[in-house]
C-alpha cells in the first residue's frame, strides 16, 4: 500500500508558530491531567492515611498488570464544574489489563470529597458501564464512596440516566454474560450498596469496607437502633452471615490480589476480528502534528497530513480520491488493525456526503471498524445546494453512519459543528469511543456566527428604540457573547461535561486508538442492516 506523500515545510513560519501553539496546548493538557489526578487538599490525603487506606491511584497501580497500557477515560470530567471541587468527577475510569484480561476499571476517588457522587460522577459511572456493555468488556469496580452528594441530588437521581441507570446497566451487563467484580474498600451506602451486590463477584476489606442500605446514623434516626459499622455491614458479617459479599480480605493489598485472581478465572471470548498484521510505525514523525494543526482555528489543514502521522507506515488506500474531495475516505491500519477512515477536508457537499454514505457501507460489509476524524464546519448552504439536495444527501450519510454495525470511533481534531457533527458520528451516534484534541471545538455553529445570531437580537432591540449602535456598542454586545461561546464550545468544557471520553494529546492518539479498537472488537459485530435511504 502506498504511503501518503507529505508536503509540509518544517521551516515555514506558520509551521513554527503552530508548533509552539500546539506544544503549549499539549503542556496545558498534561498539567490539567496531573492536577486532576494528584492535586488534593493535604487533609484528605491525611484522612486516607489515618484510615489505613491506599490512595486511589496506588490501588489502580496495584490492580493493573505492570508495564501494560492503561487508557484512562474522562480524566478531566467535571474539570469546569462545581468550582473545581470534584476533579475527574471523583471517579477514575479506564481500560486496562488485569491478569491478562482487557477490562473496564472504575474506581471511586476517595481523595475527592470522600468519593461522593456528583451529577457528573454518576454520568461518568453510567458511561463506564455503557462502555462495558457496548464492547462486552468485563468490569472491575473499586468502591469507596461517601454516597450521592445530597445538595445536587435533583440533578442525578430521578432521570433516565440518573443513578438508577448504574444498577440497571450492571444488571444488563451480567445478563449479557459479561462478568463484574467489586472490591469494597470503603463504605457502600444506600444506592452504592447495590454496586457490590449486583456484581457477579465481590471482595470486601476487613475494618474499612462496609455495605449497607442505611448507615448507623440513619438507622438510629429511623428505628432508634444503635449499631456499629462492623455489625451493620462489615466484612465478616457480609461474607459469613448475609452472603452479600463473597471474599473477605485482611488488607487492601490482599483484596486487590484476590480481585486479580478472580479476573484470571474468567473466560476470554474471541475477538470479532483477528486479522491484524505486523504493525509498522508511521513513516512521518507524529511530532510534526504540532506543526500541521493551525494555531488559528479558522485555517483549514490537509487531513491527509494527520492520517500520515496516525496510521501504520503512513500507508493509506484512498477510496474515490477524485470525487467529493472535501471528505477523505480510505483504508489504513493502526497497530496492525484495519480501519476505514472518514476525515473532513472542507465543508460537506452532496458528493462528499454520498461518498461518505457509500464508504460507510463498504466498511460495514467488509467488517472494518470506522474511524471519524472530525474537522467540520457543516454542510454547504445556499439555494443552489438545496436544489441539488444537500439536505437529502446529508440524510443519507447520517442514515449510513447511524446504522453501521461495525464499531465506530470519533476524534474531534479541530471543529465539529452543526449537522457536520451528526454526519461525522458525533456523541449522539454512539461512537464506541469519542476523543477530542485540545484545540477542538464543538457546538451548533462556530463562535463568530453564533455571536452574530445572538447579538443580532439585542441590536435589533436597539434599532427598535430608534438608535443606531456605534461600533463600540456592537463590540460591547458581541465580545462577551463570543468569549462565552468559545468557552462553552471548547474541548475543556466538552470533556468536563462528558461529551467525549477524554482529551487526547495528538501524539498519544495513535496508541489510544489501538486500545480503543482492540476494546471495540471484543463485542461481536451484527450483520449490516440499514434504514431507508432517501434517494
Amino acid at each position: 500500500m502506498r504511503r501518503i506523500d507529505s508536503r509540509i515545510n518544517p521551516r515555514d513560519p506558520a509551521y513554527l508558530a503552530n508548533l509552539e501553539h500546539n506544544r503549549r496546548l499539549a503542556d496545558q493538557l498534561s498539567e490539567r491531567q496531573r492536577a486532576a489526578r494528584y492535586d488534593r487538599p493535604q487533609r484528605d490525603l491525611q484522612r486516607l492515611e489515618r484510615q489505613g487506606k491506599l490512595t486511589p491511584r496506588a490501588r489502580l497501580e496495584a490492580l493493573l498488570d505492570p508495564g501494560t497500557p492503561f487508557l484512562e477515560l474522562s480524566t478531566l470530567a467535571a474539570g469546569e464544574a462545581y468550582d473545581g471541587a470534584a476533579p475527574g468527577a471523583g471517579q477514575i475510569v479506564g481500560i486496562g489489563v488485569v491478569s491478562g484480561h482487557e477490562v473496564v476499571i472504575r474506581a471511586d476517588d476517595s481523595s475527592v470529597k470522600g468519593g461522593a457522587w456528583y451529577p457528573l460522577s454518576v454520568k461518568k459511572i453510567v458511561r463506564a458501564l455503557d462502555i462495558a456493555i457496548e464492547n462486552r468488556l468485563p468490569m472491575v469496580h473499586m468502591c469507596d464512596s461517601a454516597g450521592g452528594f445530597l445538595p445536587l441530588q435533583s440533578q442525578f437521581f430521578a432521570d433516565r440516566y440518573g443513578a438508577g441507570r448504574i444498577f440497571r446497566n450492571q444488571s444488563i451487563l451480567s445478563k449479557m454474560g459479561v462478568p463484574q467484580v467489586s472490591l469494597v474498600l470503603g463504605h457502600c451506602t444506600a444506592g452504592g450498596a447495590y454496586i457490590p451486590a449486583l456484581s457477579d463477584y465481590s471482595v470486601i476489606v476487613r475494618g474499612t469496607g462496609a455495605i449497607f442500605l442505611g448507615g448507623p446514623p440513619l438507622v438510629k434516626a429511623a428505628t432508634g437502633e444503635e449499631v456499629t459499622v462492623d455489625e451493620l455491614g462489615g466484612c465478616d458479617m457480609h461474607t459469613s452471615v448475609s452472603g452479600t459479599a463473597d471474599y473477605p480480605a485482611s488488607s487492601e493489598m490482599e483484596g486487590i490480589a484476590i480481585t486479580r485472581e478472580i479476573v484470571s478465572q474468567w473466560r476470554r471470548p474471541a475477538k470479532a476480528k483477528d486479522d491484524a498484521i505486523e504493525p509498522e510505525p508511521p513513516a512521518y514523525d507524529p511530532a510534526e502534528l504540532y506543526g500541521i494543526l493551525p494555531a488559528d482555528s479558522r485555517v483549514q489543514f490537509d487531513m491527509r497530513e494527520v492520517i500520515a502521522r496516525l496510521v501504520d507506515g503512513s500507508r493509506f488506500h484512498e477510496y474515490q480520491p477524485a470525487y467529493g474531495a472535501t471528505l477523505i475516505c480510505g483504508y489504513a491500519r493502526i497497530w496492525g488493525q484495519q480501519v476505514g477512515i472518514l476525515a473532513n477536508n472542507g465543508v460537506l457537499f452532496s458528493d462528499s456526503a454520498l461518498k461518505g454514505a457509500h464508504f460507510v457501507q463498504l466498511c460495514d460489509q467488509n467488517r472494518t471498524p470506522l474511524l471519524f476524524l472530525q474537522n467540520i464546519t457543516g454542510f454547504m448552504v445556499g439555494r443552489e445546494y438545496e436544489r441539488r439536495g444537500i439536505t437529502k444527501d446529508g440524510a443519507k450519510m447520517i442514515m449510513a453512519v447511524a446504522g453501521a454495525s461495525v464499531p465506530k470511533i470519533t476524534v474531534n481534531c479541530g471543529a465539529s459543528y452543526g449537522a457536520g457533527t451528526y454526519g461525522m458520528n458525533g456523541r449522539a451516534f454512539d461512537p464506541r469511543f469519542m476523543f477530542s484534541w485540545p484545540r477542538a471545538q464543538v457546538g451548533v455553529m462556530g463562535a463568530e456566527q453564533a455571536a452574530d445570531v445572538l447579538s443580532d437580537v439585542k441590536l435589533r432591540q436597539l434599532a427598535r428604540d430608534g438608535r443606531l449602535p456605534t461600533d463600540d456598542e456592537v463590540a460591547a454586545i458581541r465580545d462577551p457573547v463570543i468569549a462565552e461561546y468559545r468557552r462553552s464550545s471548547s474541548a475543556w468544557h466538552a470533556t468536563s461535561e462528558l461529551w467525549d471520553d477524554g482529551v487526547l494529546d495528538p501524539l498519544a492518539t495513535r496508541n489510544a486508538l489501538a486500545i480503543a479498537i482492540s476494546a471495540a472488537l471484543s463485542a461481536p459485530i451484527d450483520p449490516p442492516n440499514y434504514g431507508v435511504f432517501r434517494m
Binding site: 500500500m1 483549514q300 474531495a325 472542507g346 465543508v347 463568530e448
Partner: protein, 161 residues
C-alpha cells in the same frame, strides 16, 4: 503481478510462493529457487547456505552478505505503473468550494515547488490554502484579493511543465 525491487539501479522482478511442504520458492529472472531464511540469519538457496543480516526501514531493506552491504528498494506497484509520477499534470486549479480570496502570495512568472501555497481562500468562515500539486511556474492568477467566486471557478493556472 511480481514484486519489484531496485538493487544498484536495476529493477528485479520477484515472487515468493509457499510450497506444499512449508518451504518457499523464489521466482526470479525466469528461474525458480528453493529458499529458506532461518531465524539465526542462515539463508539457504537451493541447498547452499550463506549467512545474511537483514534490516528493514519502511520500503528500504539493507542486507549484509559475504562481507558486502546491499540496499534494496521496494517499489509500490501503483506508483510504479502510474503515468505521471510527480503528481498532477493538471495546469488549472479550480475552487473546491464557493468563497472569496484572502491572499495571493504568488505572481505570474514565479517559480513554485510542490506544496507551496498559491492562493488562500475563505469559505463558510474557514480559510483554505490552495497548494501547488507539483513544481512549476505560475502562468495566471485568476482572482484578486477580496473577489468572490463560485465552486469550480479557475483560481491559478500553472505553465506547461
Amino acid at each position: 503481478m511480481r514484486h519489484a525491487f531496485i538493487l544498484q539501479d536495476i529493477e528485479h522482478l520477484l515472487w515468493l510462493s509457499k510450497r506444499a511442504d512449508g518451504g518457499f520458492r523464489l521466482e526470479a529472472e525466469g528461474r525458480s529457487h528453493d529458499v529458506a531464511l532461518c531465524p539465526d540469519g542462515r539463508l539457504i538457496v537451493d541447498g547452499e547456505t550463506t549467512q545474511i543480516w537483514i534490516a528493514a526501514s519502511g520500503d528500504r531493506i539493507y542486507a549484509h552478505v559475504d562481507g558486502e552491504a546491499h540496499e534494496l528498494l521496494y517499489r509500490d506497484p501503483i506508483s510504479r505503473f502510474a503515468q505521471n509520477r510527480d503528481g498532477s499534470t493538471e495546469r488549472l486549479l479550480r475552487a473546491p468550494m464557493p468563497g472569496a480570496v484572502v491572499a495571493t502570495p504568488v505572481a505570474p512568472g514565479q517559480t513554485v515547488v510542490a506544496g507551496e501555497t498559491l492562493i488562500v481562500i475563505e469559505s463558510m468562515k474557514l480559510e483554505t490554502a490552495i497548494q501547488s500539486p507539483r513544481d512549476g511556474i505560475v502562468e495566471t492568477v485568476h482572482l484578486a484579493v477580496g473577489q468572490a467566486f463560485e465552486r469550480d471557478a479557475p483560481l491559478i493556472t500553472l505553465a506547461e511543465a
